[in-house]
């Protein structure tokens, strides 16, 4: 599977549950080892990138924290590991609007706040590429709206976003392009402009490609 992501765009990574979206992201990030072949991002293995956290930011699960640590200290622990000063921690806390809750233990956070803290961690290294696995899970409509705005702004700065989801409607409004995978294979890659008629035809395409093979 090979795909290109255009800088300055948001790409949806779509597919049914179990299609391999999460596994693909974990392969790219070197968390999971391929049984054969290699997973490359920016032409190299993630671990082979120079200061990878400054090039790729990722959120894989909604709550990858020590619940007993405060939001601020969680980010500070990561900042120390990627050699970034604590000033940047305050910046990303502002970006995700968690400044007021940063001193509280993560245990007390709502799911939406945890999602935002995860996002703050991904933004810490000021990366060019953001990989988000189902980032809207657990967000209320207001949270989804907020996330959309944040991602648009991020893309507007010439950076790239890949956002996986199995909920088409969640993604259709924000993405510039879509990749559709099914059973571990890339089955379609389209610009949203190619899909005239908006959501409707994305849904048609998705259903056609993912349903056909499953019967």
């Amino acid at each position: 599977m090979t795909f290109d992501l255009e800088p300055g765009t948001i790409t949806g990574f779509l597919g049914p549950n179990g299609a391999g979206k999460s596994t693909t992201l974990r392969l790219l990030l070197g968390l999971v080892r391929p049984t054969s072949g290699d997973a490359l991002v920016f032409g190299r293995r993630y671990a082979g990138l120079d200061q990878p956290a400054r090039r790729v930011g990722a959120v894989l699960e909604a709550s990858d924290f020590d619940p007993g640590r405060s939001g601020r200290n969680h980010l500070r622990a990561l900042a120390l590991a990627i050699d970034i000063d604590f000033g940047r921690v305050e910046e990303v806390l502002d970006i995700v609007d968690l400044g007021d809750a940063a001193h509280r233990r993560v245990k007390t956070y709502s799911l939406g706040m945890r999602q935002r803290l995860g996002l703050a961690g991904a933004l810490l290294g000021d990366p060019e590429l953001l990989l988000l696995d189902e980032p809207a899970n657990g967000l209320d409509p207001e949270g989804v709206h907020w996330l959309r705005g944040l991602l648009r702004q991020f893309a507007k700065q010439g950076r790239t976003v890949l956002i996986s989801s199995h909920v088409l409607a969640e993604v259709a409004q924000v993405v510039d392009a879509v990749l559709i995978i099914d059973r571990g294979r890339l089955v379609a890659s389209r610009e949203m402009t190619e899909l005239t008629g908006g959501d409707r035809s994305l849904e048609d395409l998705y259903l056609e490609l993912t349903a056909k093979e499953r019967v």
């Binding site: 974990r26 990858d64 990627i82 050699d83």
Partner: protein, 249 residues
């Protein structure tokens, strides 16, 4: 490397787990020492050997809590998912494990020193209060403190290795405690000539003290130290191999 080490030391300072371990250790050491100096007959508390057995309890608890600290430093991250951001920040897994080992050597030494200091302080005060003359020399006390710190530090490193190998938080913690408190004690009780070479007894040899009746079987500190380093290297090696191979889902 230093960045990752700083991060690991910071993690230790900012989690309640560390505080909980320290508190539990303090309470246990204080209670057990108190029990021994109050309840043991004067006969068992006179003389250097008898007193060292009691004073050396601080090292036993230092090793137990050091090993737990080490094991939890990695198994807790695997359990709560923090391991993912950790590995995204530092994808070289060997370096993450190495940084955890170093951070736990430092924290483990502090735990061991603290534990033995409580044991020595409370033990000596208790003996004095009962009017029993304190038999160990200044050198014995120094060895208890320095050796206790070193033993707990090395057991913390073993803990990281075992934690990285087993990956399961509860499983790793129980294995370490069962090993130190039951398996080793049993082997030492049944066959002290063999038991003295085991990792817990080797740690006791560093401090020059052990609870068991077989304290006279203790290895000389240098041999104990060498064995401890070898055991730690083995455990860390197993942890490195496992960590490098396993997928993080």
């Amino acid at each position: 490397m230093t960045a990752q080490l700083r991060s690991e030391l910071f993690k230790q300072r900012t989690t309640r787990t560390t505080l909980g371990l320290v508190l539990a250790m303090v309470v246990l050491v204080a209670a057990v020492i108190l029990l021994h100096v109050v309840a043991l007959p004067t006969q068992g508390l006179t003389g250097r050997q008898g007193q060292l057995k009691v004073l050396g309890l601080g090292t036993t608890f230092g090793m137990i809590f050091g090993s737990l600290l080490g094991a939890l430093s990695i198994t807790t991250e695997i359990r709560n998912g923090m391991i993912r951001p950790t590995l995204l920040a530092m994808p070289n897994r060997s370096r993450v494990v190495a940084a955890k080992v170093m951070a736990c050597l430092i924290a483990g030494a502090a735990l061991g020193l603290f534990s033995e200091a409580i044991a020595v302080g409370m033990g000596a005060a208790g003996l004095a209060a009962r009017g029993i003359q304190i038999a160990p020399s200044v050198g014995d006390f120094a060895q208890l403190l320095v050796g206790g710190a070193a033993a707990a530090a090395l057991w913390a490193a073993i803990g990281v290795g075992i934690g990285a190998t087993l990956r399961n938080q509860v499983g790793a913690a129980i294995s370490l405690v069962v090993w130190l408190l039951f398996i080793e004690m049993t082997v030492i009780g049944v066959a002290p000539a063999v038991g003295k070479f085991l990792p817990g007894a080797s740690g006791g040899a560093l401090a020059g003290a052990m609870l068991q009746e077989t304290a006279t079987y203790l290895l000389v500190p240098a041999v104990g130290a060498l064995l401890m380093v070898a055991y730690a290297a083995l455990a860390i090696g197993a942890g490195l191999v496992t960590t490098a191979r396993r997928d993080i889902n």
